[in-house]
Subunit: 228 residues, 2 copies
């Protein structure tokens, strides 16, 4: 048995949440040989990383790197600092759950790995509809990172390309869920809560829980989330 | 005694080499309260990090973070992989000492820290004259990263700014050395060699050694480098 068609590789950021699980399924459907990367950045919810492992295993992804980042020691966010109170209502502006430069750090690592693998794409499940208003999820941010990729890397300077793919960016949460269900994603494995407990049970009150709950409701799909 | 003028903070990338030591001295001369960051990314030459510590201590910088990055496990460069032969002659194109996305990863971390500190600037000693031709040292790359900063961060979206400063970018090595000497930099502390030994002694043959040697010669300054 031979496979004469060279595989096209992608690096996919997998957090353990609903969006990135859907994003991974889309990348696989598009025929990419996916290499998953998750980040241990001192987030409160370590069950996220266990969920990431389950999602990656269920998708049959061959390679999964979990990169330890010392961002928790920098502080500055309710996601990494238990002394900052987690908001439980929608508020104006960028919320305290914003982690300084988080997606920039994540994407930089993904870019380094993509270049080593000679991957053609990086997939990230950012979304600028049902989201917390983080600046580094917006289309203009993604465009700026693509421009950086084009100038930063040996591959791109020598005529190749690495494309930053954001298939969810314009979808609302219900549309994301409907897409994932169609592609066979088991959302029961995913953890979205900003302060899930060690068993992955969700608080039901943080921003991320609210968007998720509304998403299942809007999609007309039973919510498999276990609330504590 | 009071100091009514609020200090302006900067994050300065310090590698232990000649350029970043000069860059730090320039940032201090400009009145910045400097916070230094170095990266342990699996580089062959660990004496670089010892040199970084000496440079930072000599400059009287209060805070110095050494961030451990798991880039060595990604491979793909003669600087992190001893199985790739270190080139000892100038060659066309981007050399094998290029580390995929290195400056992007370094600057992302510096950006995260700058935002937490509410720093106004990030200083990096990149140089696009006497350099190895790395894409992520060029002015167009720096401009793209500045654009990313403006879109990525809460501080910038809310009307503040973080400026990426590259005071050495247009200087040749001799000009950099003359600037540093004027500012009191002790280049005997710095290590530039891509494959310095544990005592920091230089090979005298790699790209970095060649640029450094020519720089001292061009500046008419005694070369304090210890060669092995």
């Amino acid at each position: 048995m031979t496979n004469s068609k060279p595989s096209k590789k992608a690096v996919v950021l997998v957090s353990g949440g609903l969006d990135s699980a859907t994003c991974l399924a889309i990348a696989q459907q598009q025929g990419f040989d996916c290499h998953a990367v998750s980040f241990d950045y001192g987030q409160r919810s370590v069950s996220e990383l266990l969920a990431a492992r389950k999602v990656v295993d269920a998708a049959g992804v061959g390679e999964h790197k979990v990169i330890i980042l010392e961002m928790g020691q920098l502080g500055g966010s309710a996601l990494t600092d238990v002394d900052i109170t987690m908001p439980e209502e929608a508020a104006d502006g960028i919320p305290v759950t914003y982690v300084p430069a988080r997606n920039t750090v994540f994407l930089s690592y993904a870019l380094a790995w993509a270049e080593v693998l000679a991957a053609r794409a990086i997939f990230i499940g950012v979304n600028a509809v049902d989201y917390s208003g983080y600046p580094d999820c917006r289309p203009e941010y993604i465009a700026a990172f693509q421009q950086l990729i084009n100038l930063a890397t040996k591959i791109c300077v020598e005529g190749g390309s690495i494309t930053l793919e954001t298939p969810l960016i314009d979808l609302n949460k219900a549309e994301i869920i409907k897409t994932g269900i169609r592609l066979g994603v088991d959302y029961g494995m995913t953890v979205s809560c900003y302060q899930a407990d060690a068993e992955g049970r969700a608080c039901g009150r943080c921003d991320s829980c609210r968007f998720r709950k509304q998403g299942f409701h809007g999609a007309g799909v039973d919510d498999p989330t276990v609330y504590r």
